[in-house]
């Protein structure tokens, strides 16, 4: 009996080492940065941090980020649902190509994505001058930022929905159709409720990503404080201007927003998993 106990204790040592190593790495890589960010922000007290956020340029950056995030979440939810529905439920020519295209923004560097929009809509770009003449400004303006954010966040809703929709198959839709439901009735009453948790998770992922996007937006926006600076860009501007309390206050706010989103997402992801499990035995 003592031998089994001691052998178990021996087996415990690597296990504890592994656990300790994991927590050390997580502590350094994941816990320390946000703690430092908050600490830096609060260096001169909570009041000072709040004051920096009330600065007009800061407020403008927050407003722009919220607007861009909301707009891209709405647009990409619609497109993502459409794309996932199409790919999962129908067979059509070049379906595989479409699937691969949806994945593309994940692999393309955001900076490259931003450059593409500049090439199209910049003053030297293909359509830039023509659009400029009729008074439409896309590059160095909010529409460009929106395009860049849309591109970067395009895959998230579609990719979250696709596996679930494919696993569920078309029988529910066929059944609804035979029972007399119209296209929209099927979409609203059958397809979307079947994937609601996954959809919510995809939407929150899009939100988190849209808020934090830097590369693509940085290229197309032109960094004009008060006009085209989103929160991440404004943080960079502040930091480069040695306003570290302001920079870190803004960073704290952005991080809090992102973490809240991710927290919500993991909550819904758990429910989505349950839905999948129930779906299988249903």
């Amino acid at each position: 009996m003592s031998t089994t106990q001691s052998s178990r204790r021996e087996a415990d040592i690597p296990r504890w080492l592994l656990i300790a190593a994991t927590y050390t790495i997580v502590g350094i890589m994941l816990i320390l940065p946000p703690v430092l960010v908050v600490a830096e922000a609060l260096r001169n007290g909570f009041g000072t941090a709040l004051t920096t956020l009330a600065d007009p340029d800061a407020l403008s950056a927050i407003r722009l980020t919220v607007t861009m995030t909301l707009a891209s979440v709405v647009i990409n939810t619609v497109f993502g649902v459409l794309a996932a529905w199409l790919i999962a439920k129908y067979r059509f020519p070049l379906r595989g190509v479409l699937t691969a295209l949806i994945e593309m923004p994940v692999s393309v560097s955001p900076v490259v994505a931003g450059l593409v929009w500049l090439l199209l809509f910049g003053t030297q770009g293909w359509w830039g001058q023509a659009l400029d003449r009729i008074g439409v400004h896309i590059a160095f303006a909010p529409p460009g930022i929106l395009l860049a954010t849309l591109f970067v966040t395009f895959p998230f809703v579609a990719r979250t929905l696709l596996p679930l929709m494919e696993q569920q198959g078309r029988d529910d839709e066929d059944a609804a159709m035979l029972l007399g439901a119209s296209f929209w009735q099927i979409l609203w009453q059958v397809t979307l409720p079947n994937v609601r948790w996954a959809l919510l998770s995809g939407v929150l992922l899009t939100t988190a990503r849209a808020m934090g996007e830097f590369g693509a937006v940085s290229v197309v926006s032109g960094h004009i404080p008060g006009l085209t600076e989103t929160m991440p860009l404004h943080i960079e501007t502040l930091y480069n201007g040695y306003q570290s309390v302001a920079a870190f206050s803004m960073a704290t706010l952005l991080a809090a927003m992102a973490m809240a989103t991710v927290g919500l997402r993991s909550f819904f992801e758990a429910r989505a998993r349950n839905a999948v499990i129930h779906g299988q035995d249903a």
Partner: protein
């Protein structure tokens, strides 16, 4: 509602060579209960889906109640369809599932809330689950889901019911009850029912008519009794149940098996030439002839003993009544075929028995 199918052709999408339906024609009279059986890939589900409008055939016609329905969307055909996995809406209660077909009707056609609720109650009583209206599908057993799917399909009052492998996911005991229940429902509501199954026993038990399909074609379309007694091809014979096959020659009105230790038997009226005899395990007995054979008892079924007979070059398994098996010697017997079907060129040529009380039907004259 009668259903008529005229030379339906359907190719598999993509692979151009694979043909799912090769000119299938079928007639289902009003009030009929027809089972489509066949191995997987025979085209039976494709045929069923074509009738419902879920699958578009390349050519041919589907005529429901005298009306060609090619141009009609599935929902305009007013057919009840039960899917293999039931396809219940998992986020809706049982009551909501059942009322779905009524809830989605355009407002001017939709019954009032109270009428819908009354209809749901009526259907829940019909499927014998009156207390489960507020349950979600995940809480139900397989048999209960099956019945809810049926109620949902019946809610809008279709006269034609299409069932795709409806018993596939049920355990054997539940299967038999649900099967009998569906048959009584069919009779009670005066439905026309088409059932797809790969289980021949199920088809023979429940349907008035069984349509055997193979490779996108109908091989035989007959009532269960005819199928049992006069299967059109060796495939049908084999598909419908355990069978034994003996190659042989017909000469001078007798079938002489190539297999040694199997007795020849009279097949009056059949032209000389090679033929294949097929029998069910209970259609042969053993006679003491001193032949070089051995017999083992290996089991029991339907109150009969299952015997393994070593015919020298081949083992066969037959079923004999227990009383008879008890008196059999362990060796030195020959196989005597009491009833058989003879096939020639892949078609039935003769069917009959040697027992006096069962005269041979002479099919040779028809061929």
């Amino acid at each position: 509602m009668s259903v008529r199918i005229e030379t339906l052709v359907r190719r598999a999408p993509g692979a151009a060579e694979k043909v799912l339906l090769r000119g299938v024609s079928l007639d289902v009279p009003d009030g009929g209960f027809v089972a489509l059986v066949g191995p997987s890939g025979a085209g039976k589900t494709t045929l069923l889906r074509s009738i419902a409008g879920l699958d578009a055939p390349e050519s041919g016609h589907v005529i429901i109640d005298g009306r060609a329905v090619e141009g009609l969307a599935p929902r305009e055909r007013n057919v009840g369809f039960v899917f293999q996995n039931y396809a219940l809406f998992r986020h809706m209660t049982v009551a909501k599932n059942i009322s779905f077909g009524l809830d989605v009707l355009p407002r001017r056609k939709r019954p009032s809330k109270n009428d819908i609720a009354a209809r749901v109650t009526e259907l829940l009583t019909l499927i014998q689950l009156p207390d489960l209206s507020q349950a979600y599908p995940e809480r139900l057993s397989g048999g209960q889901r099956q019945r809810v799917a049926l109620a949902r399909a019946l809610a809008t009052g279709p006269r034609l019911l299409l069932l795709d492998e409806p018993f596939g996911a049920l355990d054997p005991v539940v299967r038999r009850t649900v099967r009998a229940w569906i048959r009584s429902l069919h009779d009670q509501l005066g439905l026309t029912t088409i059932l797809v199954t790969h289980d021949q026993e199920e088809a023979l038990d429940v349907a008035d008519r069984v349509v055997v399909m193979q490779d996108g074609q109908i091989v035989q379309d007959a009532d269960p009794q005819t199928l049992e007694q006069e299967p059109a091809t060796p495939f049908v014979m084999e598909f419908l149940g355990e069978s034994l096959r003996f190659e042989g020659q017909v000469s001078a009105g007798r079938f002489v098996p190539n297999q040694m230790n199997v007795e020849a038997f009279s097949v009056a009226g059949l032209v000389d030439g090679p033929a294949t005899a097929m029998i069910r395990p209970h259609e042969a007995c053993l006679e003491n002839t001193g032949a070089d054979t051995t017999v083992h008892r290996i089991g029991a079924r339907y109150g009969m003993a299952r015997l393994s007979v070593d015919l020298g070059t081949r083992m066969v398994e037959i079923l004999r009544p227990e009383t008879e098996a008890a008196t059999l010697p362990a060796a030195g017997v020959s196989l005597v075929i009491k009833e058989a079907r003879l096939f020639r060129d892949g078609k039935l040529a003769w069917a009959g028995g040697l027992a006096e009380d069962r005269p041979a039907h002479d099919m040779a004259a028809q061929i």
